[in-house]
């Protein structure tokens, strides 16, 4: 999985949980919460959707690693790689 593919995967999830948001110009190195209307329940949704759609578990201690798109990619790409993706 490439970094761009991982960004898209996360943005696809966000488009479902925050359907009113414009995701066309999300900056990958800026905290998602600083550029989108996302609260703590929404982050739990991201975690839930990673679990449901991709079988990826994100323990609570790692939630901070989902802060922005780049950190998501850095954290998730090895997990997908471990799944052979």
């Amino acid at each position: 999985m490439t970094k761009a593919e991982c960004h898209k995967l996360v943005l696809d999830i966000i488009s479902d949980i925050a359907p009113d948001e414009d995701l066309s110009n999300v900056k990958p190195d800026v905290r998602l919460r600083d550029q989108l209307q996302l609260d703590s329940m929404d982050f739990l949704d991201i975690v839930m959707e990673l679990r449901k759609r991709h079988g990826i578990e994100v323990p609570e201690a790692d939630y901070m690693k989902l802060a922005n798109l780049d950190s998501c990619a850095e954290y998730l790409i090895p997990k997908f790689a471990a799944q052979g993706k």
Partner: protein
């Protein structure tokens, strides 16, 4: 000597019913005899008649709020916003901490719980897939809480669980809170999302109490008809703005009607079966509370849900109160058009009759092909609207399981 209680008036209303998402549309369909019952897929059960509303939740809510919240919450928000608009009160002008939200519900949480169990069934019932929104969606105050969140109102906001008497109970409780001075504006009534829970359908089916018709789905709900065979479950909502008369006059509000009297009592006899003696007692007490006599009531809206026994028992209670000495009392029923909107029923059915103060017309009880002789009440208006000379009072009955009865009387506003 006790000071007279403040007079309480209805200054706005918003509604969504299966056959109308505004009072004008709803009333036009009630006068034209237009029922609107759909056939829906009920999980695990198949296709059944139900009343489905067509309002657009996105008229007032964001997509995210619709996704995170509940159908009852969306119905509540729609009705609250419509009621405020109708009353001429801008959301921005609300005195937030003096606004109360009091919403009657038959039940809440069945839909969301069933959905989650269905969801985790796809994951071998592993509860780590259970949504973190389950608790805010299923707490009993959810529909009122969603209205409060949407409006930013910070006064009391909660639901009143009163089975199918709930719509009236919402209005009655609001009246009491206004008279106590706890709030200055009450947004009140009832909502229901019950068509989305298979449990309600399955429960009524196990009671042999689900209504149907062999050829015409719009005749599935037919109170007082000899061939009636049960309830059509519907969703819907109706919320009112209630204010103390002085406040309403001070801001030049339009006034639909004045709260005249009410009663809530309990059968204390059975989980399901109504008790006509206690129902009659409830109606009598409401009339006495209004300082009226039975012959002063010009229109009675019955609760009758089209179950074979329940309709007869309500007719028994109405006969006991009104007898043959009330020649100016007319009787109707709304469920033939929209089915049983559960927690919203009482509030919606009152709304459908409020325009009678203006047009002096009683909307008919429809779908009566052969009137059950045991439901042949004097003054019952069936199949065609009836013009009458005088209509100053409406008595609205709503009854529910575990023997809760509610009667609300409103009267023409006279300064």
């Amino acid at each position: 000597m006790r000071a007279p209680l403040p007079r309480i008036v209805i200054t706005g209303l918003g509604l969504t019913a299966p056959n109308g998402k505004s009072l004008a549309e709803f009333r036009a369909n009630l006068l034209a005899g237009v029922a609107r019952i759909s056939e829906i897929d009920v999980r695990y059960m198949g296709r059944y008649p139900a009343g489905v509303c067509s309002f657009d939740p996105l008229r007032y809510q964001k997509k995210k709020d619709v996704r995170v919240g509940t159908r009852a919450g969306s119905i509540g928000v729609y009705c609250a916003r419509e009621a405020l608009a109708d009353s001429g009160i801008a959301v921005d002008a609300l005195v937030k901490d003096r606004t109360g939200v009091f919403i009657g519900i038959t039940e809440h949480g069945n839909v969301e719980t069933e959905n989650e169990i269905f969801n985790i069934s796809k994951y071998n019932y592993d509860t780590k897939f259970w949504t973190h929104y389950h608790n805010p969606r299923t707490v009993a105050n959810n529909p009122a809480g969603e209205v409060s969140l949407h409006l930013g109102s910070t006064g009391p906001a909660y639901t009143l669980g009163a089975a199918c008497a709930a719509g009236n109970v919402g209005l009655i409780h609001a009246t009491q809170m206004l008279r106590l001075g706890e709030v200055d504006l009450a947004i009140c009534g009832g909502v229901s999302e019950s068509i989305q829970t298979f449990g309600i359908f399955a429960g009524f089916k196990s009671q042999n109490a689900l209504g149907s018709h062999p050829t015409d789905i719009n005749r599935s709900s037919r109170p007082f008809d000899k061939s009636r065979n049960g309830i059509v479950i519907s969703e819907g909502g109706c919320l009112y703005t209630l204010e103390r008369l002085d406040d309403a006059l001070a801001r030049g509000a339009k006034i639909y009607a004045e709260i005249s009297g009410y009663c809530i009592n309990s059968d204390a006899t059975d989980y399901v079966l109504p008790n006509p003696v206690r129902q009659a007692e409830c109606v009598r007490k409401a009339i006495a509370h209004a300082g009226l006599a039975p012959s002063d009531i010009h229109l009675v809206n019955t609760h009758a849900t089209a179950t074979p026994m329940g309709d007869i028992q309500e007719c028994e209670s109405i006969r006991a109160v009104f007898g043959a000495d009330c020649p100016n009392t007319y009787i109707n029923n709304t469920k033939g058009y929209i089915g049983h909107c559960m927690g919203a029923a009482g509030a919606l059915e009152l709304a459908g009759n409020l325009p009678s103060f203006t047009d002096l017309t009683v909307h008919p009880t429809i779908n009566v092909t052969e009137l059950d002789p045991q439901c042949d009440l004097p003054g019952l208006v069936i199949n065609q609207p009836k013009k009458i000379e005088r209509l100053d009072t409406i008595l609205n009955n709503s009854f529910g399981m575990l023997g809760i009865n509610s009667t609300l009387i409103v009267k023409r506003f006279v300064a």
